[in-house]
């Protein structure tokens, strides 16, 4: 009997181990992500598998219209969008997106007939494959798609003498209004939803609570019993963010107060609280310089109908600036914002002096042949700049030769070496732009080229020159002037900058994801 119980216990333990071993490594179910588009919101469940939070590929396929195929012979998985294919290999924390390898935090995992992929798969593989905006916000468990506007909002409440100050940081900057509705203030945003992290009131006499309004992109400030009046102001923030300040004043105030909400009733300058939002974008991409080609006396090319290249480039540059700021939250600087002559060296200097992370020069092409058409993307060729530039590109920058002792030569070498250091990144940026443009506008048969372009030489960051279309082609001249075509160009360029940023983020975060967030502003270089 004793022996029997011992054997029975052993058998039970073995059975349990066998059962445990046969169970998938699914550990727990975490809370859902919300996928938001202009059409609405849908829930996307996650599971913890092997210590990694993962999405089921079937769920992603349903939401993003993907086709998932398992190759049982080769042991691979293919995830196809309408235009691109992602290849996953079980056991490998890698994915191939249109032939380009990207890393994942963990290999895909299997549970019965379902496959799971890490949450980061969405940002690193799916977004570039889809070619449209797919923004993963892990802290708020959101995935934003398409043109949906969901600004991040973070708030703080602090007493300022007799008044209470509500500070709201909003990224990207979003048009809003502040109004009083009885015993509450309403802060309405021109957005589809809010990704808000709201403060707890420490001054209940004036502000009893700050909360989200149900079903509207609006915050409600519940006012306390001592509320007398309010005033609001807005300050520009860093990297496309804005800071809204709402001062709530008590009934009796030692100084005369302006009427509620009166224009010009801005709060007096006071020490700013530190930024409430972590605005450090992934990949260290913060500042982009957009160079509107030509300008002023330099008209550039001219179309058969008289359209000037300098006007088209300025128009697209301005629109691109607005789109990059609002959609990607980047700081964008134009080398010119009006019809003015700017030297080629000055253009690169604007980028260098502002420590830009990308330099994109916009141009319209011209040909002696009116039929020539299509967009082209150029990055610098180093061959024309001799051995010094090639050595710098290979990372041999310490061997800095200075020949002749002439001041000009020294300057030329330094400027030329600036771009040489970034030539591989410039090639990647050119590829990202070419791929995105191809989805939106006609491309030239030679869509990516290298050339010794003067404006790129001195840029101390990844730099490309985009020829958006041939202005000498009558059809393309009309397109270049049209709102539709310019919108397509801007969309493609914003997408490509986003993809380039995500690619850099992937590369920099793979070995040690935590270090990426801790990087300082100068870290990328």
């Amino acid at each position: 009997m004793h022996a029997c119980s011992r054997w029975c216990g052993l058998a039970a333990m073995v059975s349990l181990l066998v059962i445990l071993a046969r169970m998938p490594a699914v550990e727990a179910q975490a809370s859902d992500y919300t996928v938001m588009s202009r059409e609405g919101a849908q829930q996307l469940p996650t599971r913890m598998v092997g210590g990694q939070e993962m999405f089921a590929l079937d769920d992603l396929a349903r939401l993003f219209d993907l086709t998932v195929r398992e190759d049982t012979l080769a042991g691979g998985l293919t995830v196809s969008t309408k235009t691109q294919t992602i290849v996953l290999t079980p056991g490998q924390a890698l994915a191939s997106v249109a032939g380009r390898l990207i890393s994942l935090p963990a290999p895909p995992a299997r549970d019965g007939r379902s496959w799971f992929v890490p949450v980061d798969f969405v940002a690193r593989a799916l977004a570039p494959a889809l070619g449209s905006r797919v923004e993963l916000r892990k802290p708020s468990r959101l995935i934003l798609t398409g043109e949906v506007r969901v600004p991040r909002v973070a708030g703080a409440i602090a007493p300022q003498g007799t008044l209470a100050r509500l500070t709201l940081d909003v990224a990207p900057a979003t048009p809003h209004s502040v109004s009083q509705d009885g015993a509450r203030l309403l802060i309405r945003f021109e957005a589809d939803a809010l990704d808000a992290s709201l403060p707890v009131s420490t001054t209940p006499e004036l502000i009893s609570a700050v909360r989200r309004a149900e079903g509207a992109p609006m915050l409600v400030v519940d006012l306390g019993p001592r509320f007398g009046s309010f005033r609001s102001s807005e300050l520009p923030g860093e990297r496309g963010a804005t800071r809204i300040i709402v001062d709530v004043l008590p009934l009796t105030s030692p100084t005369p107060e302006p009427p509620p909400g009166a224009p010009g009733a801005a709060a007096p300058p006071m020490p700013d609280p530190p930024p409430l939002l972590d605005l450090a974008p992934p990949g260290g991409l913060r500042t982009v310089v957009i160079d509107a080609g030509h300008g002023g006396d330099e008209e550039g090319a001219r179309g058969p109908d008289g359209t000037l290249e300098k006007d088209v480039t300025l128009s697209v540059a301005k629109r691109l600036k607005a789109a990059l700021e609002s959609r990607l939250g980047l700081r964008v600087i134009l080398t010119r914002d009006s019809d003015q002559t700017v030297g080629l060296d000055e253009r690169a200097a604007v980028a260098n002096n502002n420590k830009a992370d990308l330099f994109i020069s916009l141009h319209a092409n011209a040909s002696l042949r009116p039929a020539a058409s299509g967009a082209e993307v150029f990055y610098l060729s180093l061959a024309e700049y001799g051995d010094q530039a090639e050595r710098v590109a290979r990372g041999e920058s310490e061997a800095l030769p200075v020949f002749g002792g002439g001041t000009r030569d020294i300057e030329v070498i330094l400027w030329e070496m600036a771009q040489a250091r970034y030539i591989e990144q410039s090639a990647l940026l050119a590829q990202a732009i070419e791929a995105a443009l191809r989805e939106h506008v006609p491309m030239s048969p030679r869509a990516i080229q290298q050339a010794p372009f003067r404006v790129l030489v001195g840029a101390n960051m990844p730099a490309v020159l985009v020829e958006m279309a041939f202005i000498t082609n009558p059809d393309q001249e009309r397109q270049l002037k049209s709102d539709t075509f310019q919108t397509s160009l801007v969309r493609a360029l914003v997408d490509s900058v986003g993809r380039f940023r995500d690619g850099r983020s992937t590369e920099s975060s793979t070995p040690a994801p935590a270090t990426n967030r801790a990087r300082g502003p100068g870290a990328p270089r």
């Binding site: 011209a366 042949r369 150029f378 024309e384 050339a451 372009f453 003067r454 404006v455 030489v457 020829e467």
Partner: protein, 195 residues
């Protein structure tokens, strides 16, 4: 062998050697020192009437590449003169169905060669003022000249374009002309014989 025969043989050897050295010196002459100066159109005509086939570059029918076209140009043993003949042909009209990559009216003002194999091609102001302004056309203008010289004259390895005797940043705002450029055939399609 008689003494007379030996003297005749020695004279013959000396004559052959002298001729060989003279020819070598003539060939080297253009590379041994900076050569060049303003181009005199009257002297540009080949004195001998001999021709060689050179490859010249013109804008293709689709406007997106340069077409290499083999064309006869006056022959000269002198590198400087030969370079001038090639350039003058390159600046001339294009054969059908091609068009010239060089803005109309552009003339060759001067040409200089250095012993390092650098050629300095000084063009008239039309090269800038009459340019279409497109980056691809600017590449074609520049590399039609650079490639015409470097492909046809192995002694020339790099070419810098000047305008009205001065160094220029670019012709139309794109291609860096601040220093000599080397042969670059990435925009060139297959060659054709001029019909």
């Amino acid at each position: 062998m008689t003494r007379r025969t030996a003297v005749i043989l020695a004279i013959g050897v000396v004559a052959i050697a002298s001729t060989w050295f003279l020819l070598r010196a003539l060939q080297r002459g253009d590379r041994s020192q900076p050569t060049g100066g303003p181009v005199n159109p009257a002297s540009a005509a080949a004195a001998t009437g001999q021709k060689i086939t050179a490859t010249l570059y013109f804008v293709s029918e689709d406007g997106l590449s340069l077409a290499g076209v083999r064309r006869e140009v006056p022959f000269s043993e002198d590198v400087f003169d030969q370079a001038r003949h090639v350039l003058e042909a390159q600046l001339g009209p294009a054969p059908e169905p091609f068009v010239s990559a060089i803005p109309s009216g552009t003339t060759l003002r001067s040409l200089y060669l250095t012993e390092r194999g650098d050629a300095f091609v000084d063009l008239s102001a039309d090269a800038r003022t009459k340019h279409t302004g497109g980056s691809i056309d600017e590449l074609f203008t520049v590399y039609a000249i650079v490639d015409a010289l470097t492909v046809n004259l192995p002694a020339i390895t790099r070419v810098q374009i000047l305008v009205e005797g001065k160094e220029v940043d670019t012709l139309a705002g794109h291609v860096d002309l601040r220093h000599p450029l080397q042969k670059n055939l990435q925009w060139v399609r297959a060659e054709k014989d001029e019909s």
